[in-house]
Structures are given as C-alpha cells and as structure tokens.
C-alpha cells in the first residue's frame, strides 16, 4: 500500500499548539507511508487539490488527513480522494484539532499526541478496503410531526413539490403556538390573518393527509423506508360525520373545563372546537370534564348533534404507513414558571404568562379583546412585564436565552397602549436582544412612541398590597437602586422549553436531544435542519427556540432537504455495514438475536445454517460483530482487525 499523510495547520487552530511540520516528518516513518506533508488548510480548494495531485504524482492508494473532526470534513475529503480516482473509503482522518490542539496546552505533548493519532489512522488505513454502495428504492412520502407554523410550512412545501405528506398534530387543531397569538412582531399584523389561510391550504391540499389529535406511536425502518405507526386518539366524535357546526359546544352543560387553547384564561365546555379557525374544524370531547364520562349520564351532545357524530365508545386507532423521510416540528411549551416562589408561584391571579396575555389581547379570546385582569375583571392601568422568567437563569437550570421574549414583550407593551391608552407599561429586562430585520427599531418604538418604561434589572419579589401588586426590582442603570412598582397586572415573559414528550419522540426517531430536550441538529453550522439519523429533519423550535420567520425558514429548509432526499428513485446505501464470512459462520444465531434492526437472517447454505446480512436494512452499528464469538461477522470499515490495529498502534510501543 502507498499511503500519503497530510497534516493540516488549520491556520493557527492546529498549527498554534501542534508542530505540524514535525508530525509530518514523523509520519513519514510509519508503515506504508510514502509521502507526508503539512498543509495550511487541507479542506480549502488548494488544500484538496494538493491531496489530489499527490495521489496522482506518488501513485498513492490511501490517504490520511490529520485535521479537524471527521464528523466535519470526512465527507469533504472522501470526495476529494474519489476525484483523484481512489475509492472514498481508502481514506482516514486523525482528529488533531478538537481532540488535540483545542484541548491541550503543552505543545510537545500535543505534537506527540497528534503523531500517535496519525499512526493510528495509518494503521487502520492499511486494512481499509474499497467499499461500494448498493441502491434501494424509496417511499416518496414525508411524515411531518407537528402542525405549528414550521410543520405547516414544511408540509405545504413538500406537498407542493409533489410529495405525499402525512401531517400529525397532537392537538385537535393545527396552528400551534402562532394560532394563539394576537399580533406578531415587528409588523404588528394579525396572527390569524397570516396563519389562517396557510392552515386552510393544508386542509385542502390533495397531497396532504392530516391526522389531528394524533401522535406518533412508533418508528422503525430506515431512511427512504421508515415504518411509522400513528395513534389517532379517541375524540368521541366521529370526524367523518362532524360538520363543525358547533351546536354541541353551545349546549354542553359542563362549562368548567380547562381551556387549553386559551391557556386557561376562563373556562370552556367539555366538548369543544378549540377555536373558530380550527383546522380541522371538528369537535372533540375532553373526557375528564364530560358528564357522560364522569357521572355516567348526560348525552346532551349526542342528542343534539344533527349528524349523529358523537360516539362515547370511540377507541384510539392505530394507523401504519411507510414514509421516506420525516420532519420533526414539534415546537415548544412555556416552562413551568411556578418554580418562582418570589413571583408568587401562581398564588396571585394577576400574575399571568405572556401567552395568557395574548389571549386577553386577542379579539377572538375569552374577553373579546378587552384586557381585563383575572382577579376582578378590572382594566389594568399599570402593567408590569418581567422578562427572562425561566430564561438565562442558571439557578433553575435554564441558562439559555429563549430568543423571542424581548420582541413579544415589546409587542405586548405596544398592544397594551393600543388597548388601554391611559395605561403605563413597565418592562424589567436583563438585556434587550433584538437582532433581526426591523427588530431593534421596534424595541425603540415601544419606548419612544409608546412610552413604555424599560428598567434594566431583575425582579426579586412580587407581593400583594391591597388590590395592587408590588413588583420589587432593581434598576441597575440607576446605581443598583431598588425600585418598587405598583402594578395592576404583571405579565411574565416566560421562556420556552422543548415540548412535552420531546425526549420520548427523539428516542423513537433515534435522534439525539440535549439536556433541555431540544433535538440535536447534525452540525450547528452546516447541518442545521438535518439530524445524525439519515432521513430525519428538524424544523422550528423543537431544535432550539426561534421566532416565526426563523421557524418558517426552517420549515422550508427541512422540506427542501426532504424533497432533495426523495427526488431520487433509488438511494445509495452506506456500505459500512456488517458482512458474514460464510466459511467461518457456524450458524449459532447470536447475531440474529441481538440485531436491533432485524437485518440478519438465517440462510441454508448446502445444508448448513448460516447468517446473512440484509444489506439495505443493516445500519452498521456493529453489535453483531462484537457478539459473534469467532468474528465471522465483520463490520466493514470497522473490522476487528482495523480496531485492533489502532489499539496496537497505541499500545505496542
């Protein structure tokens, strides 16, 4: 074998703490290395050309690049060696940036470590073999999980591109958080006016199948051919018959049900259509609130329904389907702010969340758009907004910025003035974060034109005094002086968190999530809507909190990825899969027993039982390899001998 080694300086990223030149010199002594050099940026165009030229000039049959993490540029360099005529798997990377130069301070130790990592890579490369992909057909259907604005955008884009789309929404209606908003920043245009038509498009699009009040039960399979089961939850209303006339909701005698859509601002009936623009516009029964279920008798809705759609016996229904790609757009929830005892932990009715305030402001909300405070229905004059409630707060384990609260608080202060001209808004803030087109101007307008008083400081206590709430904070711009504001209403800009059930869904999708439940993108910069599981994409706040424009952009981006994936009739399988050495297999079946993908089957080879890998099903985890006692199953590109060679390159010296 003729190996070429390229040590990348990555500017000063590596070169600053690793002596790249001496690593290159040392590498020349490694077995089968016939060429070694250091290079400033291996991934750059001239860097890649240098590799290609060296392959040709020195007739190299394998290449090692020591640079950044293979999770970053392995595909880049594989393509480069391929351009030079080598098989893309005749390439190895040594990670001397993330694992060496960026974490070690001692240059000698770093240089030594880098050289050893190169030796490991060379030792493995010597055992690499050409690998070739197989192709398999794909299912041209996309599953979109979550019908908020991001999911709606992804579903419509995919459907417009001609793909079949299955949209699954947990709530009885799509629309997500955006449908609860009164207006949107920075244009202060009506939320339902811009979202409503898109929701209708979803309902009417011939390529979209919508399952509302449904959740993803299980996912198996692999990119191009996932098997998905959806659980349609019992709504006790036959939606095929329901016309959405709303008669049942008018007559329902149980009127104290928690109103989920209105964030609990005022009660609702046990049978509901969540809001007038709901898609699908169908009724559903809240079981816990319904007298038919709690008391065993009522049946008013059944009696009154003109189409006989009410069915108290309805059961959950499981629907299975095959899809080629999946877009997760599950959004966010507000965090449980009642951990803040100093804000009353829910004891004071006039301390409400920003989303509750949206419902108070909304013309379609329970108060018809009149701002009335919950305790006594009075119109508040002094409204205090507290930002960063559950954001940027290490003490409750929420160190991140929710990103959109500064903007919606500003919007709400403007709306407050619009609704109650003689009101005064106070905003306690930590920093005003308004990067975005027209955003900062917006936050200035609320102060300059609408007279909202912005106080830079945290609030340490809210306590009632008479029918007022005293909001005690600090004004850090006034030398840290304590300020007490008498408020009629306090609105908390509660931060977001990954929506309930995110980790469980991630486990079903086999994607990663961070400690807050947000799904992990494939790469923070270069793969923002892809995940590490091929065929699964992310859109909207499930990946990290974001505002409407960003969510919509991501919805489109995820759709573009899904469309790109399914634009081909056939997909190439990853050839890094398990292979059985038939001669050595004794047919003991242990590999079949452990394979998580059922990718190994028993075959009869001239009367003897043997294991055989189904190439398009194998995902390349290598569990079979580690299980087979005689090593008859080997994971290509990560064979026993390759890993042993790496171990020996480290230990036998």
């Amino acid at each position: 074998m003729r190996i070429g080694v390229f040590i990348c300086h990555c500017g000063s990223n590596i070169g600053g703490t690793v002596d790249c030149k001496s690593v290159a010199e040392e590498s020349y002594a490694f077995p089968d290395v016939v060429f070694s050099t250091d290079t400033m940026y291996a991934c750059s165009e001239p860097g890649q050309q240098g590799i290609i030229d060296a392959i040709k000039e020195h007739n190299l049959s394998g290449v090692v690049v020591a640079s950044c993490t293979p999770r970053m540029h392995e595909p880049t360099f594989r393509r480069a060696v391929e351009r030079a005529g080598l098989n893309r798997y005749m390439f190895e990377m040594a990670n001397i940036r993330e694992h060496v130069s960026w974490i070690g301070k001692n240059k000698d130790a770093n240089t030594n470590k880098a050289a050893e990592l190169v030796r490991m890579a060379v030792s493995k490369l010597r055992l690499n073999r050409d690998l070739h992909s197989k192709s398999f057909p794909v299912t041209k259907r996309v599953l979109v999980i979550g019908g908020g604005v991001a999911g709606i955008q992804a579903a419509l884009d995919c459907a417009d591109a001609g793909l079949d789309v299955v949209l699954v929404e947990r709530e009885p209606s799509i629309g997500g958080k955006m449908s609860k908003l009164d207006k949107t920043f920075p244009t202060v245009d009506c939320s339902s006016c811009i979202l409503g038509p898109r929701m209708v498009d979803v309902a009417q699009h011939p390529n979209i199948t919508l399952y509302a009040a449904a959740e993803v039960e299980s996912v198996s399979g692999y990119v191009g051919n996932f098997e998905v089961t959806v659980r349609k939850k019992a709504t006790y209303v036959d939606w095929d018959k329901c016309t959405g006339c709303g008669l049942c909701t008018e007559k329902c005698p149980s009127k104290k049900s928690f109103d989920r859509f209105n964030e609990g601002v005022g009660p609702t009936t046990a049978i509901i259509i969540p809001f007038p623009q709901a898609i699908p516009k169908k009724a559903s029964i809240t079981r816990d609130a319904c007298r038919q279920f709690t008391k065993g008798k009522c049946g008013v809705c059944a009696k009154i329904c003109p189409t006989g759609a009410i069915n108290y016996e309805q059961q959950d229904e499981l629907v299975s389907m095959k899809v080629g790609g999946i877009v997760a757009a599950t959004g966010y929830d507000l965090m449980d702010w009642t951990v803040y005892e100093e804000y009353g932990a829910g004891r004071y009715p006039d301390v409400i969340t920003s989303l509750q305030y949206e419902r108070l402001l909304s013309a379609s909300g329970p108060t018809g758009g009149h701002v009335k405070r919950p305790s006594d229905g009075k119109e508040p004059k002094n409204v205090v907004f507290i930002q960063c409630v559950g954001s940027r707060d290490v003490s409750i384990g929420r160190p991140y910025c929710s990103g959109f609260c500064c903007m919606y608080t500003a919007k709400q202060a403007i709306l407050t003035k619009d609704h109650i001209p003689d009101s005064q808004s106070f905003v306690f803030y930590m920093d005003i974060r308004s990067p975005g087109k027209g955003y900062d101007e917006f936050t200035r307008r609320v102060q300059e034109e609408y007279g909202a008083q912005y106080i830079r400081g945290r609030v340490s206590l809210i306590y009632p005094k008479g029918d007022k709430l005293i909001v005690r904070g600090v004004d850090t711009l006034m030398g840290g002086q304590q300020v007490d504001v008498e408020a009629d209403l306090v609105v908390l800009a509660v931060g977001g968190e990954a929506t309930q059930g995110s980790p469980q869904l991630a486990e079903k999708l086999r994607i990663s999530y961070d400690s807050y439940g947000f799904f992990m993108e494939g790469h923070p910069k270069l793969k923002p809507v892809e995940t590490n599981t091929a065929g699964v994409f992310l859109a909207g706040s499930c990946q990290g909190l974001k505002d409407i424009p960003s969510s919509v952009a991501q919805g489109s981006a995820a759709a573009a990825k899904a469309i790109g994936l399914l634009s081909k009739d056939m997909l190439a399988s990853d050839p890094q899969i398990a292979q059985v050495d038939m001669k050595r297999c004794v047919g003991c079946g242990k590999c079949i027993q452990v394979c998580p993908f059922k990718a190994i089957k028993e075959v009869d080879v001239r009367g003897q039982i043997k294991a055989e890998v189904i190439e398009t099903v194998c995902q390349g985890c290598g569990l079979c390899n580690a299980t087979c006692p005689q090593g008859a199953v080997q994971l290509s590109h990560f064979t026993d001998n390759q890993i042993l060679a790496e171990v020996e390159a480290l230990c036998r010296f």
Partner: protein, 358 residues
C-alpha cells in the same frame, strides 16, 4: 563401554550449577500438577520421580522460533523508498537437557531426517533446527518402571535405551550412575568420580527390572511393516476412523506433548514498520492445518485429521524414512488426552481389521 561415574543425589544441584557456567541447563520441574522442562533455577533439585508431562523437544525445536526480524526504514532522501533490514537471531548457546527420558532422546530421530535435508543430498538443511540439535546434549534418566501408557518397546525402544542419549543416568539408591555415550556426554561427566562396581551392577539391575515392567508387544515379534500396511489399508475406511475419533476433541495436546511431532507454521508477527518471522508449532489435529488459500480444506472432519496423525506416524513416515515409525512410544498422547484416546488401540484395531478382511 565407557567409564561409569557416580553422582550422589545430594550433589546433583551443585553439579548442575557447575554445568550452568558453560551451558544453558534444562531440567524437569514440578509446576502445579505438571512436570515441565524449564531452564533450571540455580541450586534447585530437578524432579526425578514423576515423569515429565511434556517432552523435551521444545529445547531444540521451540514452540515459537524466531527465524529473523525485519524493519522497514524510510529513506528521507527518496520519496517512498524503504530500506529493509533483516536481523538474524543470535546462535543458540550450548545446552544440556538433564533428565530427558529415553523416549525423548529417541524422538529426535524422527526430526533429524526431516530437517537434515530429508537424508537426501541436495535438499535444503534446516539450519535453525540443526544448530540447536548439535548444540544440545541430552542426559537421559533411565526409567525404573513402565507406566500403563508406555509402549516404547513397540518402536524399538526400552525404558533405559541408550539410543540418542549423550549420557545415560540411572538412579540407584541415593545417587546417579552416569554413563557417557558420546564425546559431548563425556565432556559433561568427565569431572565426576568413578562409580563402583556394585553401583554399576545396581544400574544394570534397574534397567532389567524396568524392562520387566513393560507390557509385551502385541502379537510379538514386532512387525513394523505389518503395522504400516494395516494402517494404510484403512485409508479409505471412513467408518473405522469415525469410530476411532468419536471421543477425540481435536485439540493439539497429543501432538504438542509428542517428542516426534515436528510440524510447524510460519507467520510474520509485525507491528508497524517492524516484526519477526516466527516458526511455531502446528498440529495436524487442527482444521487450519490443511486450510488451503483457496478456502478449500481437505480435512474438515476430525476423523480425517486423526487418520492423518496415526497414518503419518505408523505408515506414511516409515515409507519415506526407512521404515522407522515417527513415534517413540512415550505414551504422553494417551496419558494426557482429555478423552483418553489410545493410539495403541487404534493401531491394534487396524491390525485386527486387516486380519479379518484378509
């Protein structure tokens, strides 16, 4: 007959310590339940009662023998040029095996023709083997009794055979009567006191007594040709070998303990730029022994492999090397077989089968 010498038992360690100045001395040592030939620890008394579990062949024919080592070194001046350096191992030092059994000594007779150009002029000689063979002196300790598994008399041997030994040592009362049989042997014992006549007689008596404990050769007198023919006659008798090998585990204990099994494998054990070429013991009882590069294996069943072992020892080898068995009858393969496979019984069954059919 050379002068007999006498070494009191108590002086054995001291004498061996003396030899250790000019020789590497191997002697039987008890380790766990086994007795093995070990480079002797200074001042130690060798195990003289229990017979060694293993044969002494590894002294001359190590389990893994370094033939040479190699290193590739990059030439910085010429891109891609590698200089290969080969290094020969050091020559073996003069070695003495003290306490070999007479069957061990005779076992080397099976090796010699194979490694010495097969006795044929012009064929390569195996210097690695020959150097060690020539450098090694064998002090044979005469057996005083036969064990149930002993059958050296089948192969022309006896408990106190002088064949192949450089010195024959016989335990009498509280000392060893030493009889040098070769100049190499003479060099070893020349410093010892002469033995008395009664000591010589006692040694002789011990030899005779040991001989008496040997079970007689079946169907005496011994007819090696008849045995060779009978074993060969069973070549195509699969049923015979299946039955004989039914209890066989196909492990290599028999061949690795055998003083006459000389088969080997050659591997390069390298790490990176350097490595060694090893010649290591191989066993015909293993499947890999006959695995061909094509993937084909003519001997996948243990019956085939057992047939080869017995056939080789009693038929094929003799046909190439003047009728001599490549078996010295030490019985270690029987004694240590986990399944008590008895090579004598296989030969006898072959003879019986030959008699029935002819």
């Amino acid at each position: 007959m050379a002068t007999l010498r006498y070494l009191p038992l108590a002086q054995v360690p001291q004498w061996l310590d003396g030899l250790a100045k000019s020789y590497t001395v191997f002697a039987p040592a008890r380790e766990g339940s086994a007795v093995v030939y070990r480079p002797r620890a200074e001042g130690s008394m060798p195990e003289l009662t229990a017979r060694p579990t293993e044969s002494a062949k590894h002294v001359v024919f190590p389990r893994a023998h370094e033939l040479f080592s190699f290193t590739y070194k990059a030439d910085p001046a010429v891109v891609g040029k590698r200089d290969l350096t080969l290094t020969q191992p050091q020559d073996p030092t003069p070695t003495v095996v003290f306490g070999a059994l007479s069957c061990d000594a005779r076992g080397f007779f099976a090796f010699d023709p194979v490694y010495d150009g097969c006795g044929t002029k012009g064929l390569a000689k195996d210097v690695y083997y020959l150097k060690r063979r020539q450098n090694t002196a064998l002090v044979v300790l005469a057996c005083r009794t036969a064990l149930a598994t002993c059958f050296c008399n089948w192969t022309g041997g006896s408990p106190a055979s002088r064949e192949g030994a450089d010195v024959l040592a016989t335990l009498v009362n509280d000392g060893l009567v030493m009889e040098a049989l070769t100049p190499k042997g003479e060099e070893l014992v020349s410093g010892l006191a002469e033995a008395g006549a009664e000591q010589g007689a006692a040694a002789e008596a011990s030899h005779t007594a040991a001989e008496a404990t040997m079970a007689p050769v079946p169907g005496a007198p011994l007819d090696p040709k008849a045995i060779a023919d009978a074993v060969l006659a069973r070549f195509d008798d699969a049923t015979f070998w299946q039955a004989e090998s039914a209890g066989c585990l196909a492990c290599g204990a028999c061949t690795y303990l055998c003083p006459t099994c000389y088969c080997f494998n050659i591997t390069d054990e390298s790490n990176g730029i350097s490595g060694v070429r090893l010649r290591s013991w191989d066993t015909c009882m293993a499947s890999l022994f006959t695995l061909e590069a094509s993937g084909h294996n003519p001997r996948t069943a243990k019956a085939n492999r057992l047939k080869n072992r017995v056939g080789h020892k009693f038929s094929y080898y003799p046909s190439l090397h003047g009728g001599r068995f490549s078996c010295c009858g030490c019985g270690r393969c029987i004694k240590s077989c986990p399944s008590s496979v008895d090579i004598r019984r296989i030969v006898q069954n072959a003879l019986a089968a030959a008699n029935v059919k002819e």
